[in-house]
Structure formats: C-alpha cells, structure tokens
C-alpha cells in the first residue's frame, strides 16, 4: 500500500516518489480554465451591443499532474480557484476549456456519480435525516452493495475514524470533529481511488485541527489512496503534503515538495505566501548583498547580534533598528527596520530570553547576521 520508511512527510522527497516505477498519474489537468457567468455575460453583451465583461475567471489555464497514492495539497489564498479546481475534478463543475483525466481516462464530461472519486465537503454535507450509519452506508446502498458486505464495510470505516458506537446518532447530535470524521468515513467507505478534501479542518479549533492533521495523514498512508487536499493554511500544507501546488488568481505559481516550495520559492508570491516574505529588493539588495535581483531570507535563519559584531566570510549582515517585538511564547518575532531601507522579520527561540528581556529590545540598534546560503533568489512573478 504505502512505501516503507516514509513516516515523516517532510522527509519524503520528490526522488522517493519518482522511484516508484512506473509513476502512474491519478489526476491530470490539461489547460483547464473555468469562467463563471460568461455565457450570460456574452448573451447580454450580444443583445445590448455592450462589451462582455461580467465573466469571472476562477481558474485560468491550469496544467497539473497528481501522482497515484500521493498526498497532494492545493494551497492558496481565498478566491484563488482551489475549490473550483477541486469541484471540476469531482465533476460538479465543467471546465470552460481544457481536459480532466482520471487514471488516464478523459472524464471532462462524465457526471460526478460516474467518477471514481469521493469528496469530503467543507461543511461536511452530512444528510441530517439519516443516522451516522446510514450516512456512511449511502454510497454503498446507492451502488447496490449486498447488505452483509455493506454492514461490514460501514463498521470498518467507522472504526478507522474511531467512531464505533456512534452508529445510531444523528449528525445534529455530533460535535464538529465527529461530523468531520463521519464525512471522512462516508467518503472512504467507497474505496475511491482519489479522495478530495476541501478545507476539511477549516471549522475545527486549533487543537483538534492539529490532532486531525496527524490522523488524516495516518489514514492516507493506511489506505494508500490519492488525497487532494485544499487549504489556505501554509503550515497545514507544509506538514501534511507529499507535494503541493501554490495557487494565486486562478493560476498555479509553483508545484513541488514542501521543502522545494519553502526553500526555493519560484515567485515573489510564493515566497510571501508560504512563510514570512522577508523580501530584499532593489537598492537594499545592492547595499547588503552587493548584487542585483530579489532575495528572500526566512526569519528563523537570521541571528540578532550587537551592531559592532563582525561576521564571517560566508555570512551576510545588515544593521537596523528593532521597530516592533511580538512575543509568541516559544519564540519572539522582531521586526527590524534596516538602515539600508526595507524591513526584515527575525524569529528567535526563547532559549534563555524572558518575555521582559525580549520586549525591552524594542528600539535597540542591532546587526542581523545570516548565512549567505540562506539567501533564496526569487523569480519575478
């Protein structure tokens, strides 16, 4: 089912996935676009002679390959087209142009009930008039799976999401976390080859969210099917995914492993959205690094030192004033205004610093020091 030795997501590199021969594709998107309101807009425009302009371009020419068995995330800000893309894979929306292939088969015009994918909806979409058991059994019942097998599979699915004993409850009498599990069981019980999840943890509180992240990942490795996971939370995408795509305004800015995307952001947008942006641009780059272009430095890679500190040959440094201090518990975030212009965010673990010491640093002159290898060049996007 899953490959041995891949317990940690972050360590699972691109190479590891490539080594699975042959790397079969679960999903392929071929130049997919989606416009909303376009037809009506054109018709009205034709009738009135006005220019058509009402169409919303939700997805704007996406090419994407998702491999069989991987945990793939779609990350991006609200309105960037993630849900629309997911809904096109599920079959709820038809692309305006382009093709969608599931396991090599063109399903662009195939209705949802004939696709071998299942969805965990953001609002869970549990049937309120059915018990937990009937909700989970729905897909099997509709597909006429024999009663005995149905009961067994429902029991297994509920056990997998640790909801045994809740069979006769109604969704209305469950907590948010439990409903989420029912939704998951209802989808997984059908053994789809691809599971689509649209911000499934969005409505849960932080603690439950973190628990469910671990559990979801474990379930994915246990069942070994492809998960396509939509989220706007970069932390979630980085911790859970084998690979992820960063969406912006209906386009994909970068596809890669979490390490790729975090350490080698392809565009300025990716640098800013995944992690804190900390961009060095224009004159600042020339003064501080002595070259041109745009770079980003992750806040945790930068040290705070005295202004007089002399740095090593493989290090870069810049002087500045601490403009703001944000105490975060385990670490502290300093916002430093550089003498060369611009700002950098620095996070430091509170190893020995107390909150008092950290907060009193505001206004102090400092020198920021970091290894040159942590200057990440950013493409102009």
């Amino acid at each position: 089912m899953t490959i041995e030795g891949h317990t940690s997501t972050a360590s699972r590199t691109d190479e590891a996935i490539h080594s699975r021969a042959p790397a079969e594709l679960a999903v392929r998107l071929d130049g997919v676009t989606k416009h909303f309101g376009g037809d009506a807009g054109r018709r009205v425009a034709a009738a009135t002679g006005a220019a058509a302009g009402e169409a919303v371009v939700a997805v704007d020419g996406i090419d994407l390959e998702i491999r069989d068995g991987e945990f793939f995330s779609m990350l991006g800000p609200s309105g960037s087209g993630k849900t629309t893309t997911l809904r096109m894979i599920a079959g709820f929306e038809r692309p305006t142009t382009g093709r969608i292939l599931l396991h090599g088969q063109d399903v662009t015009t195939v209705p949802p009930f004939e696709r071998d994918v299942n969805t965990v909806f953001q609002d869970y979409a549990l049937f309120p008039h059915m018990t937990v058991e009937d909700n989970v059994a729905y897909g099997l019942m509709v597909r006429k799976v024999p009663k005995a097998e149905r009961a067994m599979r429902v029991r297994d699915a509920l056990a997998m999401v640790r909801l045994d004993g809740y069979e006769r409850r109604r969704p209305g009498h469950l907590s948010g976390g439990q409903r989420q599990r029912v939704a998951l069981a209802r989808a997984l019980v059908n053994r789809p080859r691809v599971l689509l999840l649209d911000e499934p943890l969005g409505a849960l509180d932080l603690k439950l969210r973190e628990e469910m992240q671990i559990e979801l990942k474990a379930i994915q490795q246990e069942v070994g099917i492809t998960f396509i996971y939509v989220t706007h939370d970069q932390q979630e995408a980085l911790t859970m995914s084998d690979r992820l795509a960063v969406f912006n305004r209906g386009r994909i800015e970068q596809v890669g492993t979490p390490a790729d995307v975090y350490e080698r952001p392809a565009t300025r947008f990716v640098a800013g959205f995944v992690g804190t942006s900390n961009l060095l641009t224009g004159d600042t780059v020339r003064t501080v690094l002595g070259t041109g272009g745009t770079f980003t430095v992750r806040p945790e890679k930068i040290r705070l030192a005295d202004p007089g500190f002399s740095h090593g040959p493989d290090e870069a440094s810049a002087t500045g004033t601490i403009r703001e201090v944000v105490y975060l518990g385990p670490d502290t975030r300093y916002i430093v205004a550089l003498d060369a212009g611009g700002e950098l965010v620095v996070t430091q673990q509170n190893l020995e610093t107390s909150s008092m010491e950290a907060l009193s640093a505001k206004g102090r002159l400092v020198r920021l020091v970091w290894k040159r290898q942590h200057n990440l060049p950013v493409g102009e996007g």
Partner: protein, 298 residues
C-alpha cells in the same frame, strides 16, 4: 441611568425606562397585553361560546335556545347516517384537494427553488401570490362561469367532442375550484422548504453515486416532508371548513354548508355541534403534523 443630571423634564421618563429595563417581565406583559387580550376575548371567548352552544338545544315549539346541558346534538350527529356521509365526503374532498395541490405544487416549487434564475424566481413568486390578492368570492364566482353549461370550459372542449363536469350535483368541479383556490398555500411552504436544502447535500449524493432520481427519493423528498405537511395543513383545513365554494358550484352537501343551513333560524345549537366535527378533525391533523415536524418548517 448614570446621567441623572439631564434635563428635569426627561427625568421621570428616564426613571420609568430604567425601571422597566430592569423588570423584563413587566415590560413583556405591557407589550403583550393588547394582543393577548384580543386573543382571549375574540378567539377563546367565541370558541367557548361555540362549545357551550353545542351542548344546548332548541325548543321545537318556541324556537328558543334552551340553555341546559344535553348531549343530544352529538348523539344525532353520530347516529344519523346523513351526517356521517357528509363528514366522510368532506374529509375525502379535503384529502383529494391536498394530494392534488401537492402533486401540482411540487414541480412548480422545485423549479422556483432550485432551477430558475433569481429573476424568473421573482416573477414566479409574484404569479403564485397574485391570485391571493383577488377576492375569494370573485374567484369562486368566476369558476361558476367557467364551469357552467355554456361556460368557457365547455366552449373550449366542444371542438374535441367533450364536455366539462358542469355544475349539477357532481363534485369534480368543486375539487377543481378548491385545488385552484388553495394551491398557493401549498406552493409557498414547499418552495421555502426546498430552498432551505443546502446544495452541498445534493452534490454529496451525486458524489456518492446517486443519480437524479435516487437523490430525489433519498435526500430531497425526506427533507421536504415537513414543508409538505405544513402546506397540507392549509389545504386540508381550508377545504374542510369552506362553505361558500360548495354552495356555489355544486348541489351536493358538505359540512360547511350543512352548518350554514342550520345557522340562525333553524337550529343554532345543532350548527355549533356540527362545527365541532371539522374542529376535532383539524386538531387531530395538527397533532399528527406536529409529530412530523411541520411546525419547524413553517
């Protein structure tokens, strides 16, 4: 109440307002006094009178109401086959009208709630509500004209060699009239009920392999049953109690016109007792409807 140094004229008003603010029950009582009074006097009062009357009798010689308790009216209603027949006929009519309204209203409400664009939706809503603006009496009379021997219906049907139900003693015309009259009362709650079903439930059903018909049978219909029952409360009870439409379009008797015939001169206590019959039927109907969740759907 911190700014007690305000203008002296406003002071007592402010004091009162503050006192009321702290005594929520008194405030509520003052607010509800008038409507509650109306409800008690006009509704419960007349209902009590009706109930008392039902157990009195009429002196056959003087025509005066004798205010002494007697169950005779009810004994008469329960034993005389005429009343049983009329009651059953009226209930059957109410059931038939309710079913017909449901069958016609469902597609219309479904189209309004889940298919039509918001513009079409608005137009349809107006079209459904519009007949309610016209007088009931006018509409009933109009149907008399439509159904009469040389009316519009027969004129339309004659090229096909057919004839409409006519007015006489048959009840088909009445069934048509009732269905027409009460249809909006079925469409509106159904429309609201269908509109309330989240689209994601229908998508979830399709996602799990359910085709249109399965989704309708397993998801849409069960979820809209409370709204359907809510609508049927209107169509059922309105049909049960009506006496004008039956007297206009058929010569056959229904509870409504029997009560009306006994009203005033002939036998007021008996009319009251007869009125209890549809009342009891509707109360039973409401109890069943409540069990089916109809009141949450209203």
């Amino acid at each position: 109440m911190t700014s007690t140094d305000a203008r002296p004229t406003g002071n007592s008003m402010r004091r009162l307002a503050g006192w009321l603010d702290r005594h929520a029950r008194v405030r509520l009582a003052m607010l509800l006094a008038a409507p509650m009074g109306w409800l008690v006097v006009a509704y419960l009062g007349s209902l009590t009178l009706l109930f008392l009357n039902a157990f009195w009798s009429r002196d056959p010689f003087t025509g005066q109401v004798v205010r002494e308790f007697t169950p005779n009216n009810f004994v008469e209603i329960l034993t005389n086959p005429l009343y049983r027949t009329v009651t059953l006929r009226t209930v059957a009519m109410a059931v038939a009208v309710t079913l017909t309204c449901a069958v016609i209203a469902f597609p219309i409400a479904y189209y309004m709630a889940r298919v039509a664009s918001s513009r079409t939706k608005g137009l349809l809503a107006v079209a459904v509500v519009m007949p309610l603006w016209a007088s009931y009496l006018v509409k009933a009379y109009t149907w008399r004209l439509i159904l009469s021997n040389d009316g519009v219906l027969n004129w339309l049907l004659s090229p096909l060699g057919l004839r409409g139900p006519g007015l006489g003693d048959n009840v088909i015309g009445l069934w048509l009239v009732f269905t027409y009259l009460w249809l909006p009362y079925m469409i509106l709650p159904l429309y609201a009920g269908l509109e309330r079903i989240p689209g994601s439930l229908l998508e979830a059903s399709a996602d799990l392999g359910g085709r249109g018909l399965t989704t309708f049978r397993r998801v849409i219909f069960p979820l809209v049953v409370p709204a359907l029952v809510a609508g049927s409360i209107f169509t059922f009870s309105l049909t049960l109690g009506d006496y004008i439409a039956p007297s206009l379009v058929t010569t056959t008797q229904f509870i409504g016109n029997l009560i009306f015939l006994n009203f005033g001169v002939p036998d007021l206590p008996f009319a009251a007792a007869l009125s209890i019959v549809p009342l009891v039927i509707v109360v039973v109907y409401l109890l069943v409807a409540r069990r089916m969740g109809a009141f949450q759907a209203l």
